[in-house]
């Protein structure tokens, strides 16, 4: 964290001079020949004046020190250890531990009498007890732990002398429910210690004002903004490969040799991909190409923690040539001398790309070097758009997440755990958070009622209420056991159900293969593992594994060297194409003048499209219809990301069905959507039997959406997450899940019951809001439908157009999201029937 301090102070004038820095701190800087940076001094100046501040600075700006400087200055002299002085909050557990280490060393070197402790979910009870009885000056912790801290009845005592809260990676925290929960916890912190200053540390974002407002109580002046110096512009290029860029797919296999050569030419390369399966695939390909046995490692969230820590340590020691990683390495402190970042696959967003590029070379004065490797032709366009965006330093980060009622429910229970409360007072406090500033009182009361009794119209569980209003008007927890329950279920991260994967020993007993478990490789989603048959092979942890079955501890596997995995585990990327990049891609498509940078094969592809069909204007949406192999296809190009287009596909097929076009299926990619069916939709349009304007009318977001959601699994999945966060059902504890059949309730069944009995229940509302922003992305779909009103152009073609080829290739490869269970089961049963008929 103290990297990059060598830069001399700029020409900016400061009221705060170096001379005012405490002599121990100043001496420490001087002994190393360093000078604090202007933004570090600016943060110190704000802090000492008692002001909160947001620091926005590219990676490598000595941001963390900027946050701590005020604390160190204030604690430099011997003082009474009288409660926590500074809370440092990081979204990453590992980061929290690392900061403690990197902070302890300089504090020791400066000879400051400062005590530091770390508290994360992994901290043993004895250490927690010590922290409680002897609070440190600086407590390093995670957002969830802050919620636990303020729910502690002793919170007022522990926080009575709190002066600073430092929130690291604020840009990452605010866009998630963790941020929403943290913002509520901070209202409690403020209540206990009104003089506390809040320091947000953030990468560059699209809307710094939103973050400034997030840090301050609603209705007050946003906090001061301190901006770090911009680093040298990155040295960024798209891979120019001799190989043919594929039409579709996400493997980037064509580029493996080129990537390998790039790795050889650099000290250490960080290779980012978008999904875990891409990481596995690329890692295997690189090792197959690894004639020089370079030290190449793999890092993603499903790998065993110990294995990940080993990779991180090796990086820090500069013992690796390359690491293939997913977003698990997006955040965090420096790990070694990375001098090349490779982004394989679409960058998805400008800011995300900038942050990843920032992982290379943490020195501001040197340009970060990065290479973009598109895995298909549309991604070439996306990379080109990203290149332009980066050149302009254009940001497309999301706006902070607000108003999550499930999170509010969790906070209300936590508030009751801390002690009795007055509803009106809590409402004022909650709405002082940026995230809930627009919360209507009625919705607050509904949520409170939910926490107290479940909020059901039928009041038969009144006697089991969790909260009760006392004669004095205060709400009180009805049973101390609920406090324990709250602590066990804290947090907003709902994991998919995972199973451990262990390497098995296989023996033959009485002619039967018997597998017993060995060491743990990591964890995989249960849905994936449970669809494997014994003998199936798949790729995990960089090796081909043979599935040997599932026992009560998880999945068993043996190594199956040298074989191609039979079962792909491809899942679409988690990050949808940002609206910002999408509009740039449309602009590039519409302007042949901009094609100069594109590889010749991509240029040819677009030119042929212009000749065979048409390239739409920036604001138009093209719809193409054509026959192919006895079916009729309709392809449209919204460029709104897979999730929104999947929803569009579901709704379009419903309408086409109703209007007699007899659709058979659809597939959505990030860029395009194809629907195919029995009737010639092109002729129907020509004859006026099908109106594209009506087909794409915004009214599809009314009843059609409602009818689809009634049976959509996506909605049920969203509801399950909401139900867990809101405490309707308990989290499954690790290891317990397989044995608790009788007591686990099925959230799908609860969802059905609630929908039919109480459609206005607060949790259904919360689930709907989540789905609209997330899995079904109705917001973005609504934006699209508005944008293309009167802007649809149609071409009826004799055959498939060049632009349509990529999405047509996805048919059969992509699974259909969101179709009803019945449709899938009917298909499976029909397939069996066909098979049976063939045998006859």
């Amino acid at each position: 964290m103290f990297n990059g301090l060598r830069e001399a102070c700029g020409s900016v004038k400061f009221h705060f001079a170096m001379a005012d820095l405490h002599h121990r701190i100043a001496g420490w800087f001087a002994a190393r020949g360093w000078t604090p940076r202007p933004h570090q001094l600016a943060m110190l100046q704000q802090g000492l004046a008692g002001h909160s501040a947001l620091l926005i600075s590219p990676t490598g700006g000595g941001k963390t020190l900027a946050g701590f400087l005020t604390t160190l200055q204030e604690l430099a002299e011997p003082h009474a250890h009288d409660g926590i002085h500074t809370l440092y909050i990081s979204p990453l557990k590992a980061l929290a531990v690392d900061i403690a280490r990197n902070l302890e060393a300089p504090v020791r070197e400066m000879g400051l009498p400062v005590t530091i402790e770390t508290r994360t979910g992994d901290t043993p009870a004895s250490r927690r007890a010590r922290i409680r009885s002897h609070p440190p000056d600086i407590l390093i912790t995670t957002p969830e732990q802050v919620s636990l801290l303020v729910a502690d009845p002793a919170a007022a005592h522990l926080l009575r002398n709190l002066r600073s809260v430092i929130i690291d990676e604020l840009h990452a925290i605010v866009t998630s429910k963790r941020g929403v929960l943290l913002s509520l916890a901070l209202t409690r912190v403020r209540a206990h210690a009104p003089a506390t200053r809040f320091f947000g540390l953030s990468a560059t974002v699209a809307d710094p004002d939103a973050l400034r407002a997030w840090l301050a109580p609603a209705g007050t002046t946003p906090v001061a903004l301190v901006t770090g110096a911009a680093g040298a512009p990155p040295d960024l290029a798209i891979l120019e490969s001799e190989e043919r860029v594929p039409w579709s797919g996400h493997s980037a296999r064509y580029a493996v040799t080129d990537i390998y050569e790039a790795i050889k030419r650099h000290r250490m390369s960080l290779i980012f991909v978008n999904t875990r399966s891409q990481a596995e695939l690329l890692f295997k390909e690189l090792w197959d190409a690894n004639e020089d046995t370079l030290a190449i490692a793999l890092h993603h969230g499903s790998l065993d923690v110990a294995q990940r820590r080993k990779v991180e340590a090796a990086m820090a020691a500069n013992a690796l040539k390359a690491v293939v990683a997913t977003s698990t390495l997006d955040l965090g402190i420096d790990w070694g001398d990375v001098d090349l970042v490779v982004q394989v696959g679409a960058p998805k967003g400008s800011s995300r790309l900038l942050q990843r590029i920032g992982r290379a070379n943490h020195r501001l004065d040197e340009a970060s070097k990065a290479l973009l490797v598109p895995s298909n032709r549309f991604e070439v366009l996306e990379c080109e758009a990203a290149l332009e965006a980066v050149a302009e330093n254009a940001q497309d980060t999301e706006y902070p997440m607000v108003l999550k009622l499930d999170v509010l429910a969790q906070h209300i229970l936590g508030r009751a755990v801390a002690g009795p409360f007055d509803a009106a007072h809590l409402f004022r406090e909650v709405t002082s958070a940026f995230t809930f500033r627009n919360l209507p009182r009625a919705l607050f009361d509904q949520t409170l009622d939910y926490v107290a009794t479940g909020g059901y119209a039928l009041k038969s569980y009144e006697r089991y209420a969790k909260l009760r209003q006392q004669p004095d008007g205060l709400w009180r927890l009805s049973h101390p056991r609920l406090a324990q329950q709250y602590r066990l279920n804290i947090g907003t991260i709902v994991e998919e159900e995972m199973l451990k994967v262990r390497i098995a020993k296989v023996r033959t007993v009485l002619g039967k293969r018997v597998a017993t478990g060995g060491f743990v490789l990591g964890e995989l989603e249960e849905w994936f593992l449970s669809q494997l048959a014994v003998g199936d092979t798949y790729l995990f942890s960089g090796q081909v594994l043979r599935h040997e079955g599932i026992d009560e501890f998880g999945a068993l596997a043996t190594r199956a060297p040298g074989r191609d995995p039979r079962i792909p585990s491809y899942q679409g990327g988690k990050f949808p194409l940002s609206t910002y990049l999408a509009s740039r891609v449309r602009r590039i498509l519409a302007n042949p003048a901009q094609w100069g940078h594109l590889p010749p094969q991509v240029r040819d592809w677009l030119s042929t499209q212009r000749w065979a069909s048409v390239l739409p204007d920036e604001n138009q949406m093209l719809v193409e219809t054509f026959p192919r192999a006895e079916k009729f296809y309709m392809v449209c190009y919204p460029f709104e990301g897979r999730l929104a287009q999947q929803t569009l596909g579901m709704l379009l097929t419903r309408r086409l069905e109703r209007w007699g076009a007899r659709p058979l299926g659809f597939v959505a990619s990030e860029y395009a959507l194809v629907v195919w069916g029995v009737r010639d939709m092109g002729t129907m349009i020509a004859e006026g039997k099908l109106s594209l304007a009506r087909l794409f009318d915004e009214d599809m977001l009314g009843d059609d959406l409602e009818a689809w959601l009634a049976e959509s699994n996506l909605m049920k999945r969203t509801f399950r997450n909401v139900a867990i966060i809101a405490g309707l059902i308990e989290r499954r504890m690790p290891g317990k899940e397989k044995t608790t059949r009788q007591v686990t309730v099925n959230t799908d069944l609860i969802y059905d019951a609630l929908r039919s009995h109480q459609p206005d229940h607060v949790l259904l509302r919360a689930a709907w809001d989540d789905a609209a922003e997330g899995l079904i992305d109705v917001h973005r779909l609504g934006g699209l439908l508005k944008r293309i009103k009167n802007q649809i152009i149609h071409r009826d073609l004799e055959r498939v157009s060049p632009l349509a080829v990529p999405v047509l290739l996805e048919i059969g490869r992509e699974s259909i999201q969101g179709s009803g269970d019945d449709a899938l089961l009917a298909e499976a049963a029909d397939a069996l029937m066909d098979e049976a008929m063939r045998l006859v």
Binding site: G454, Y461, S530, Q531, D822, L825
Partner: protein, 244 residues
């Protein structure tokens, strides 16, 4: 926040209960028709079988501080009433775990108790005891037994490891997952082989446990077993080998 328009998907709770003749299961020469509700009907004997209603499961959870919607008992009884109206059985067999816990039937809401009483007064009722509700439900009409018989078939709560006679049981809450196009569709199911039928849990909130789980191991003759998976609109039969 999106505009939120609460609108019930259906005018009232209409859980489908349709019997399916095409999915008839025969056991020891008797024929049984599965219902989408999870009940099993023997038309020749006029016997209706339901297992694992887990009535008042919601209340039991609420007592532990898990406030699930208090609609499960009402839903379960509505489903039972619907399947009774469709089959008009002479005898109604509860295959155990009818109540989620022993306290369940004493705490039952007045109106719900009346509905259950009405059913069991009108139809000859046999309560087979389960592990959740071993004590006889003396406040409700009907015979209380450890197991019962229909012809050569034994009805009991818990499937036995090596049944001397063909049996129909519950207890395990069978469920199955079918993978199609990379998606797993899960649901409650009937599972049967030449010697037994295991009923899905009838309770509205009671989920399923995969027939591939260890609890089923050694119980079924898997080569000759099949499942009938209950989906929203229909049921679907699959050979055991097709289940993931």
């Amino acid at each position: 926040m999106m505009p939120f328009s609460p609108k019930p998907p259906m005018p009232s709770w209409t859980r489908p209960c349709g019997l399916s003749e095409s999915h008839e299961i025969s056991l020891a020469g008797l024929s049984f028709r599965p219902s989408l509700s999870g009940a099993l009907f023997a038309p020749e004997q006029g016997a209706l079988l339901v297992a694992d209603l887990h009535l008042e499961q919601g209340a039991a959870l609420a007592r532990r501080g898990v406030a699930v919607p208090p609609y499960d008992t009402g839903l379960t009884l509505a489903a039972l009433e619907a399947v009774i109206a469709e089959t008009l059985p002479r005898t109604l067999y509860f295959l155990g775990d009818s109540f989620h816990d022993a306290a369940g039937h004493t705490l039952l809401d007045e109106a719900l108790l009346l509905r259950l009483r009405t059913i069991t007064e009108q139809i000859e009722t046999v309560w087979i005891s389960g592990n959740h509700d071993p004590a006889p439900k003396d406040t409700l009409p009907g015979r209380h037994v450890a197991q019962a018989r229909i012809g050569p078939v034994t009805l009991r709560h818990e499937p036995s490891r090596s049944p001397a006679t063909p049996e129909i049981a519950g207890h395990l809450h069978p469920g199955a997952g079918i993978v199609q196009r990379g998606h797993m569709v899960r649901g409650k199911c009937f599972v049967s082989d030449p010697r037994r039928i295991i009923l899905p849990a009838f309770g509205a909130y009671t989920g399923g446990m995969s027939v591939r789980a260890p609890a089923f191991e050694g119980l079924l003759e898997t080569e000759r077993a099949s499942v009938i998976l209950l989906a929203r609109e229909k049921m679907y039969r699959f050979p055991f080998a097709r289940v993931s």
